[in-house]
Symmetry: C4
């Protein structure tokens, strides 16, 4: 019960983030191919960012469903997670406009890393606020996707200066890592 | 109970989509007819898009009220539906600015088709997560509006290249199909 | 219970409307008086529009707290109300940019009238869905603010062509009418 | 229970405010340092404003969790608080674009002062609506952070005309004041 408002506030922020990103897809000035074609990279990176925010929403949902108590530390680390996620529309728009450049791709990696670190911190803060909750300890404890994606984000940042397209491949790998095991986990345990 | 957060997140996204579309109605630079008149097509397509999002909200509400359990597949297909709906403001703005062109009208049809397919997939995912729910099976099973509107959206896409105005007529027909039977259904069964 | 999601969706839309209006207050290009001064009329009309949306939120809250059942007609008239309210940011931005012109002021009056008619229709739809609810019947039945403000909005539209400033005075009168009796009513009955 | 919708509406507004601010971080026109460097002050003031809105969310959460009844006065003072908070994205964007000027810094101080006064007024309105609630009286009564930050905001306004950077230092001090004691308080009392 304590986490109701935390969840609804987080849902509100995630809902606005997802929709604002789509708002960056401005209607092209004409219907000529030259006007339309530059939308395609932005659309692709929008699909990627939408997937990331969706992954966070699903995992945040699982994590907080398993939570009975929240502390001030939980509220503040949750705000920290929302802060990093709120930068995703900016990073998305920048990558969409300059997909061949290193700096936007590296920035996208930094934002992803920040969100990943905040999410891991949130999991630990929730665990500290619910020390006797073994189900929660199991969910947080066996998280290997978090550390793995943080390593990959760290790799993606310098890699952008070799080629930003390598970084994009790393981002897709991270999305796949989160997407697949999550569905398997749910089937395994039979819970939703 | 399991679907509470799914509903509130979806409501948040739909609320932002509806309001962002209105935000595309920029205040004209002057009050001269030449400045104001180009707003009228955008206002008309806004009314159409608002109606579509309203239809989705009402039907999503009915579908999830009948749902007891949600699964990971329900969460992901719901996100897929929200993805397609999040592209409606883009398609609306584009059609509003270039209503005489084929490409924006065809894009609107593609977005509508994507949302329709995702909604049908969502209904089936919910049914799989609640296999013994006969009330739900009846709601999802007798859905002929979904397939009918998907066929019409498919027709609307090439039709835009004959004339985009034919596509707009198809969109209005789709809205009417969803609007009317929904009210009749409610009266028939006496439920809300 | 039936109205939970209706309320949360409406809250979402109203929250976005209120915040998007503030987003029209663009940071001036410089700190010179000539850049800053044109913000003042927009700020004033923002205060007025914020007050209107606040009045709708408070009254919507009272109306739906008194409601047990909702029908399809309630959902659709509520969407109609949200449609008109979603045009307020547009009307606000236009009046803010061209406060000396008749057409934006008249448009603001039309939007206000549309919202007023939709709100009255919503009250009646709720009453039809809850025919035996005497508390609700009393709330809806003794509403004289609704008809009064509709008459005033109708007056404000042609009045804008005499002078838009007369229309603004009418809008302020409407806000005062809603604001004062609402607080008195609550004190009278002792309910919130 | 009476405060549910007040909380969800406030959450919606705060969620949009936080995310709209990030939307002011427009993707730079190029990846050259000259294009990117002007984003840094905006990013810094965004971090500050995000922190302020986060502080309001956490405190609003604590205040309303302790509340059983709400009155019309609570609803209206809450709307007043949301009004001032809705101006934060504007003040943030302006300071971010003209961080060396006095007027935007002073405006930021005025907006902060307005929000502070509204929050204090809200606390008192809630107390009047729940006269026998000693836990609430303790929370509101021992609030020294509110008066302290109002004094600091008042100081920050003329100080901007000495140097806006002095005002920014005052804003950081205010954030620290709210942030630290809040966590200490929670640990002390053992409540969340």
């Amino acid at each position: 019960m304590g986490s109701d408002r935390l969840e609804s506030f987080s849902d509100g922020v995630l809902a606005v983030i997802i929709t604002l990103m789509a708002f960056e897809l401005k209607a092209p000035a004409s219907v000529a191919w030259s006007s339309v074609s530059h939308l395609l990279p932005l659309l692709l990176v929008y699909v990627l960012s939408f997937t990331f925010v969706g992954i966070y929403w699903v995992n945040h949902h699982h994590l907080l469903r398993a939570t009975e108590h929240i502390s001030a530390a939980v509220m503040w680390t949750n705000l920290q997670l929302l802060f990093w996620l709120s930068l995703i529309p900016f990073a998305t728009a920048w990558v969409g406009a300059h997909h061949g450049q290193a700096l936007p791709a590296a920035t996208y990696g930094v934002v992803g890393l920040g969100a990943g670190v905040a999410y891991t911190t949130l999991g630990r803060a929730i665990l500290r606020a619910n020390p006797n909750d073994t189900a929660l300890a199991r969910v947080v404890g066996r998280d290997i996707k978090g550390p793995a994606s943080m390593v990959l984000y760290i790799v993606s940042i310098p890699l952008a200066y070799v080629s930003p397209y390598f970084s994009y491949c790393v981002f897709v790998v991270i999305a796949v890592i989160w997407f697949l095991p999550d569905r398997r986990l749910v089937k395994e345990t039979g819970s939703t």
